[in-house]
Symmetry: C2
Subunit: 279 residues, 2 copies
């Protein structure tokens, strides 16, 4: 999926919502556990109920890997089921030397058919390059996360006065282009979004942490929107675990609709700065 | 596997060799491709031929993931087949927020039964902590790698004059202890081994890059050995792809034996500094 297709989809649906499929057998409704593939059954119902409200789904691969090969079968079925016009982000946070990253790229882009993968930057250019070799696919580099441990290294001050995450953004922005690279930017401290936007004005950001983790959507948008919107805002648990009962998909759709309605309003506010889209 | 068991095994076998199981269908002997599970068949033969020469096997998970769930079945069978007294290192380079790292820990330590996992440090303490919660299991943190991209961030100079990788070593050494934490330290520039050893004198290092990638074993040992040996030296392609023919396992054992013989000699040289081991 290229940038234009993503952007047009955002405008068409009035939504920049990404729904995180962090599907956990301990948290899905109990009545699903008797089925052959409860994870897929859960995801399918969530996708059916919410696909008109979002432009991306983000399965967190750890939640599938934890069940061994069977979990990966559920992941493959889930990705296959997601409508083609919706971006699939494999939240895998991979990164290794070139030879190995090539294998990960093959796995997620060819075998599973994801459109994008999250990637850890610590090993540098050759660990990211193999993912960039795929046309129409995206790498989403861990820029600034909002977990407590992000203080340990991401916020370290460098000799030149900038912080490590700023250097990561500047350097990795040059690995690819705004057509194949995004950044993970945590939302809980929204002042950072403005700062990060000034460093990489034209890239898309994948912003987790709105909802369950407490970031405010309006603040994120005010600080982060650019003329191609440039934001995919993710919510996982706040949507998919809205109800522990048989009405889980319906309740998930209600939660997703609340966010999508806010996003529609925000896109209306910002219309003057947005690029026209091809109908 | 605790530190004492690992150390005794090194002394008993006169070996600190780790064999990397980077098993690639494009590189294994053609006659195996007709079998039901060529990856497992290849690994089984390699393990049978080399298990007396090494103290660890390191399957690189990307090579299994690239084939989807079937590859993960081969990985599980391989790990199950490795003798219990040999350390299994899942070279997975995972790292995510706590909630997600917990899922990865569950996957590799509980489902697959690995003894150790390689972990990327960029997200900090809470991304590593869940792996440390398992008794008798190890995290192996990416400290200093020897790929070209290691220049991009690992070698960045910090405000306090140290380099990022030095800060990563110092900080992450305090996450756990020498009983549950090791570091990946690339071998191609052996002067770094001495420097890293001075920062973390008591930890084990997993050292890739001896063999195919060109580091010298004697130099690594001279700069890196401590009184618990403190080194696991990995060779992957140089051993497992020693022959493309039916004699692949035999040739792999020959290559592994060359390294083990050097290691035996090195351990003899260094005997005066080594701790006694329980017979």
């Amino acid at each position: 999926m290229n940038k234009k297709a993503l952007y047009n989809n955002i405008r068409k649906k009035d939504s920049f919502l990404c729904i995180g499929l962090d599907t956990d057998l301990d948290r899905i409704p109990k009545h699903l556990l008797d089925l052959d593939d409860p994870i897929y059954a859960f995801n399918k119902a969530i996708i059916d109920a919410t696909s008109h409200l979002c432009v991306a789904y983000k399965p967190n691969t750890a939640f599938y890997e934890t069940y061994g090969p069977q979990g990966l079968i559920s992941l493959k079925k889930t990705i296959d089921y997601i409508p083609d016009d919706i971006m699939v982000i494999a939240d895998a946070k991979r990164g290794d030397i070139g030879n190995t990253s090539k294998m990960y790229a093959k796995s997620f882009f060819e075998y599973y058919g994801a459109d994008a993968i999250t990637v850890a930057p610590y090993m540098g250019y050759d660990s990211v390059k193999p993912f960039l070799d795929y046309d129409g696919k995206w790498v989403i580099i861990l820029g600034l996360t909002s977990n407590k441990g992000s203080q340990d290294f991401q916020q370290l001050k460098l000799e030149n006065g900038s912080k490590l995450y700023e250097s990561v953004l500047k350097t990795t922005a040059n690995y690819g282009s705004t057509e194949n690279t995004m950044f993970v930017i945590g939302a809980t401290q929204s002042e950072y979004i403005a700062e990060v936007r000034s460093i990489v004005p034209d890239h898309f950001f994948l912003v987790p942490g709105v909802g369950a983790q407490g970031g405010s959507l309006q603040e994120v948008a005010d600080n982060g929107i650019n003329n191609y919107v440039g934001l995919l805002v993710n919510s996982s648990r706040g949507i998919i675990y809205a109800s522990p009962d048989k009405d889980f998909a319906e309740k998930a759709a209600e939660k997703a609709a609340i966010l999508q309605t806010q996003m529609k309003e925000i896109l209306k506010q910002k219309e003057s700065i947005l690029e026209p889209f091809a109908q």
